[in-house]
Symmetry: C2
Subunit: 137 residues, 2 copies
């Protein structure tokens, strides 16, 4: 297998996912950055600003304003940390949960769609391949 050709195809796949995701997000009235925050909080559960900023790859300054806006939209909230008075836990509101679940289902539907012509074995192989590739990050 030519690495050049494979590399090109991986990038192409990545681009298609990005375009698809952009479309879905745009329909939800959120920006990409806002959606990303919702995704992480949805998956991780209550999480500190610091940790969330690290996962998003932004500074806490950036996150502060981002969370301000999401709080204004009533999608998540700051809850004071019990033992550290400098800190907050960010968690989804019910509205945020609902949005997160919808988005999650969109992903699931896309996966099912993409798997239509895959045998059980091919799916398992793909899964293993993805796992194996991720060991290199």
């Amino acid at each position: 297998m030519d690495a050049e050709e494979l590399s090109k195809t991986i990038i192409e796949f990545y681009e298609k996912l990005t375009t698809w995701e952009d479309g879905v997000v745009k329909g939800s009235g959120l920006t990409t950055a806002q959606n990303h925050a919702i995704e992480i909080v949805g998956h991780e559960g209550a999480i500190k600003m610091r940790k969330l900023a690290d996962k998003l790859g932004v500074t806490t300054g950036t996150l502060t304003v981002s969370i301000d806006r999401l709080e204004k939209k009533a999608l998540l909230r700051r809850v004071p940390h019990k033992s550290d008075r400098r800190s907050y836990l960010i968690e989804l509101t019910e509205k945020g949960q609902k949005l997160f679940k919808m988005h999650h289902n969109h992903h699931l539907n896309l996966t099912r769609e993409m798997m239509t012509d895959f045998s059980e074995q091919e799916q398992a192989d793909l899964y293993q391949s993805l796992k194996k590739m991720m060991e290199h990050f």
Copy 2:
């Protein structure tokens, strides 16, 4: 294969690629958006503003300022279209070419890295799987 688990893994893979890409781009002194433009012009060759905007998924207004900045960085240039005087062709400068090739090699290295534990057959299977998934976009 559980679609839920597979979906999660695809997203995870996507996120890892994004994080990797962000790191590479940041090191080059460009923003993600600027890099994306360079990538497309690099792959497509001389391209009209209109078409480039469509490929990037932005309005021409957004692209105008983006190209202004890349032109200021001497990475690409506007060349008047021969037959349509409203239009420009965007093309990379030598400096832009160099940057594009470097970035291209980064991708190639990553692919080679990820393929270290893959047999020839596994690579070919992965390639086919990616192609098959992309039919659904």
